[in-house]
Symmetry: C2
DNA sequence: CAGGATCCGCCGCGATACTG
DNA sequence: CAGTATCGCGGCGGATCCTG
């Protein structure tokens, strides 16, 4: 269930063009980062990023779910419990996160002198 | 010249939080990808991504320049000539591009069956 | 507890026209 | 050729209230 065709970059001679949409969300990489460390309940995840609203966090989670990167497991009980984890495809994104992390550290070091 | 403080993610226990702003632009990764292959004039770059407006391409280039990832070399001549290339910091972003490329290929393969 | 439903300001992104 | 200058729309991102 892809969100196809934003401005047809498909014919672009650039492999990364197609996935820009995935990572452009304001908190996508952060969410994926936390979920790469451990499966988390909604509340736990939200507590790790308190500046994000419930509503918006839900939205981004749905988007990532539609992209097939995260899995949403609902436990039918009271009170409700929902756990988020990376799918197989989501785990393939981890190298990107690692590279990003490495770059981020170098970037911030270089930038505070 | 960082664009500080959008919603203070700095205290977030996540290394990648700080650079989400850099990669959130609609064409950032594509621009960096092309420039990682070779130094390019404005027109050349624009021809490689024709669906992007001159105006907007200029904007994103300025942003990446302000972030210190690309270098803008102006040749004072008529007609004018401007070349864009990666800075040292920009080159440190290449591993991210490589990881993204790898992921993109796997992602798109998996998604058309 | 984990969301769904609304409402809304702002700016990302684009189209178009004009310059040195 | 490589930009600036305007103008405008749509939707991202957020606040706030309500539910099973």
């Amino acid at each position: 269930m892809l969100k196809q065709e934003n401005s047809d970059k498909s014919f672009l001679d650039c492999p990364v063009a197609g996935i820009q949409d995935i990572i452009k969300g304001k908190w996508t990489t952060v969410i994926l980062y936390f979920l790469s460390q451990s499966t988390l309940r909604f509340g736990e995840l939200n507590r790790k990023m308190p500046m994000v609203t419930q509503a918006y966090l839900t939205k981004e989670l749905r988007i990532l779910e539609n992209y097939g990167l995260i899995h949403r497991e609902v436990y039918p009980q009271v009170p409700p419990k929902v756990e988020y984890s990376l799918t197989a495809m989501g785990k393939k994104f981890i190298p990107v996160l690692d590279a990003l992390e490495k770059f981020a550290i170098e970037y911030e070091q270089d930038n505070q002198k």
